[in-house]
């Protein structure tokens, strides 16, 4: 009976975690169930204008979706494709450029690196180009981590120059870069167009023509509190944004968005007066999901952006929960509770072993009694400091003395033994006894020489492919990596087979039958 209970519980627990891994948290639901963001107005091939926006399912890849009058929202305009490298992991943040271009940010195969991609309207659908049109910058540049936003201005009549303002990332920091092109496909980077005014990070930039001038609106994730929106005049020749003027955001009365958070903004159209421009703004809801709203930007200063009372597109239906993830926290807690019981059993065992030794005065009873003294002292002072974390009295000082003054130095002493043991082990390992040990010693010597200046000095007169650092890098990162991966594959399959046997209780029962 006991065994049957164990087998059943093991099977059910394993089945739960197996299904959690295999199944998504929710089934069905809208393609923008995690939120809608980064929208653009478009009119390609349609009589009626539509809105293209970014959306994703929870834990899913982002896609560019359509929102058109009389149509069901959420049809995919541009989605990630396994056939393309540069938007393999997602397509988002589109900008329509009349008449038939859609610039967007593709998340690449290489760890979701964001790049500027281009799709063209052909045969009634958006057809992405096979490769990105603007890659990330060289290491050390302002867009070395990728380009997360783009705003393109097509040339006016009689002009040949395409202009693009991009938010380039260097780590987490976003800055506005400027690029030009003669065809809108092959771009050349120019100087930096704007830095974050409050020392934060620029999230979006949107540029439009207003009369004879070019104007830009940026959204900043500021280090300090302040309005995230700002407007600036743009120098047509250099692309540089002039002094930024803050835009005051006005939320409609009774709005549920509190506190108001604006993540990005794109101009959908300019004018007419007194409206300076109409914006498509991404805001966050109190539950963290994003939605798109229109806002009217009135001419200033002071510039004022009034958000529409209702969202243009909010997060879609989340679908039906599989319930597996909803109870995940409780199941994990149960595992922790069972583990806590086991810790208790371990401590009881330890106390029994040392207790018997002390009571029976067996050899080593004095050392065993130290266990009880140490355990009591640490338990008392630890509980005391947890109950009174801010106190600076005998309790906290004793705890500090025991933990930082005794336990940690003892651990460090043990760890420092490794230095001596490493030398001893290396001596044995590098003795040349047979072919294998000779190869090992030679590889080790090569790796060591390749990482110190003398290795470079010894062979710098040789052609680069046979210099020690080059050979070292090849041995370390090609041959060694190949072996590591081969071993890891074997471990993965072995661990999986063992897990399967444990899950189905094939393992222990089998071993009990061994004769």
């Amino acid at each position: 009976m006991k065994r049957r209970i164990i087998v059943t519980v093991t099977f059910l627990a394993g089945l739960y975690y197996f299904l959690v891994f295999l199944l998504p948290p929710r089934i069905g639901g809208a393609p923008d169930s995690a939120g809608a963001y980064a929208a653009t107005a478009a009119r390609a091939g349609l009589a009626e204008p539509e809105v293209l926006y970014s959306g994703a399912r929870e834990g899913g890849t982002p896609r560019i979706l359509r929102l058109a009058p009389g149509r069901r929202p959420g049809a995919v305009a541009v989605g990630p494709s396994p056939w393309r490298r540069d938007d393999y992991r997602g397509a988002e943040r589109p900008q329509w450029v009349a008449p038939d271009r859609l610039y967007y940010i593709g998340l690449g195969w290489d760890d979701r690196t964001p790049r500027v991609c281009l799709a063209r309207w052909r045969d009634g659908a958006w057809r992405p180009e096979p490769r990105a049109v603007l890659d990330r910058g060289e290491p050390g540049t302002a867009d070395s981590s990728g380009v997360t936003w783009v705003s393109v201005l097509a040339p006016t009549a009689g002009e040949q120059l395409w202009r693009a303002w991009c938010v380039g990332r260097q780590g987490e920091t976003g800055r506005v870069g400027y690029a030009t092109s003669t065809d809108g496909v092959r771009w050349e980077r120019a100087a930096l167009a704007a830095d974050a005014p409050h020392g934060g990070s620029i999230e979006s930039v949107s540029v439009w023509r207003s009369g004879g001038t070019i104007t830009g609106v940026i959204v900043e994730r500021a280090a300090a509190a302040g309005t995230p929106l700002a407007v600036a005049a743009v120098d047509g020749a250099s692309g540089r944004l002039g002094p930024l003027s803050a835009v005051h955001l006005v939320a409609p009365s009774g709005d549920a968005l509190a506190p108001l958070q604006v993540l990005d903004a794109r101009v959908s159209e300019g004018g007419p007066a007194p409206v300076y421009a109409t914006l498509l703004v991404t805001c966050t809801r109190p539950d963290g999901r994003r939605e798109v709203r229109t806002a009217t930007l009135t001419l200033g200063p002071p510039y004022v952006a009034s958000l529409a009372p209702r969202p243009l597109r909010e997060a879609g239906n989340r679908g039906r929960s599989t319930l597996l993830n909803d109870v995940r926290g409780r199941i994990d807690d149960l595992v922790v509770v069972v583990g806590a019981f086991a810790v208790g059993l371990g401590l009881v065992s330890l106390a029994q072993v040392h207790g018997k030794r002390v009571f029976r005065r067996r050899q080593g009873w004095a050392e065993s009694s130290v266990f009880f003294v140490a355990a009591a002292a640490m338990a008392t002072t630890t509980i005391y400091t947890r109950l009174r974390p801010d106190a600076d009295d005998w309790g906290s000082r004793t705890y500090q003395m025991l933990f930082a003054g005794l336990f940690q130095p003892l651990g460090s002493s043990m760890f420092s033994l490794l230095a001596a043991y490493l030398v001893s082990a290396a001596y044995r390992a590098f003795r040349v006894r047979n072919l294998e040990s000779t190869l090992m010693a030679a590889s080790a010597a090569l790796i060591m020489l390749g990482q110190v200046p003398i290795g470079n000095l010894l062979t710098q007169w040789l052609p680069p492919p046979v210099q020690i650092p080059t050979v070292m890098a090849w041995v370390l990162f090609v041959t060694n990596n190949a072996v590591v991966r081969a071993v890891n594959f074997g471990i993965f399959v072995g661990a999986m087979a063992t897990a399967l046997r444990v899950w189905l209780s094939l393992d222990r029962a089998a071993l009990r039958d061994v004769t």
Binding site: W83, D513, V514
Partner: protein, 263 residues
């Protein structure tokens, strides 16, 4: 927690099916060939030597928790080693760094002694929960090895830096040492300090190799089938990426076929 994509889900299901199918075939009596693993053969020799010397052996099931499959692989070998030791009347010291693992280890050792008809050989003082701290655990185990002058030491499972502290101590006291670990960065330490080192997946084959039990042997064949599937996928991916790079169709190792497999 990360959820499986369709490719990963399909691959897991295929690999699991292969293992289960091979277990079924092995249980039906299909003969299975297992190549020789010197380190595991040495296990019996080490026990014999310990018997001659009249000293205990030490078996460490590693630093892994119960969610680590290498711990279960180590438990299979522990059970075998304890059964053998019971026949020779040997003491087996089993230091454990994790409380949840300790409870399982204690039951395994007790059951193994009992199943060999020697329950009186089980000494609760010899199966010890010590400490989850690596330094403290290493200090306690090395002290135990020095005091008891163990004749043989077996390190099976996952390890951290304590691997070298344990193995060098064993080397110093002249114990025969066999190590098997899937902790890749500890392999060099074990290689230099132990008499036999079993690397990576052979740890998971140890239970089958020692017991020759059909279920475990079938599982071993299933693992080989799984590796063959993975190797085939690797070859397809490498060929596609190379073809893409040579023809200019792919960049940085990317090829549509590689992309499709990654979905």
């Amino acid at each position: 927690m990360e959820h499986a994509n369709w490719t990963a889900a399909a691959l897991i299901l295929v690999l699991c099916s292969a293992v289960l199918l091979c277990i079924r075939q092995a249980r039906a009596g299909r003969p299975v060939f297992v190549r020789r693993i010197a380190g595991l053969d040495a296990l019996d020799d080490s026990l014999g030597r310990a018997t001659e010397m009249g000293r205990p052996i030490l078996f460490s099931p590693g630093f892994g928790e119960l969610n680590n499959m290498s711990t279960f692989a180590a438990l299979a070998v522990l059970e075998y080693a304890v059964r053998r030791a019971a026949r020779f009347g040997l003491r087996v010291l089993v230091p454990v760094p994790s409380a949840p693992v300790f409870t399982v280890v204690r039951d395994t050792v007790r059951d193994a002694f009992a199943s060999e008809g020697r329950p009186e050989l089980f000494a609760s003082d010899d199966v010890l929960f010590l400490s989850g701290d690596q330094n403290a655990f290493a200090a306690a185990v090395t002290g135990m090895m020095e005091r008891e002058r163990v004749a043989a030491a077996f390190y099976f499972g996952s390890y951290g830096f304590e691997s070298l502290l344990l193995a060098e101590t064993g080397q110093r006291i002249g114990a025969i040492q066999v190590a098997a670990t899937d902790s890749f960065f500890q392999v060099p330490f074990f290689l230099t300090a132990c008499d036999y080192t079993i690397i990576g997946e052979e740890l998971y084959a140890a239970g089958a190799y020692l017991s020759r039990e059909p279920t475990l042997l079938g599982s071993l064949v299933g693992q080989d089938v799984g590796k063959a599937i993975l190797a085939a996928l690797l070859l397809v991916g490498v060929a596609s990426a190379a073809y893409g790079a040579l023809t200019g169709a792919g960049v940085d190792g990317f090829h549509p076929l590689v992309g499709l497999l990654g979905r």
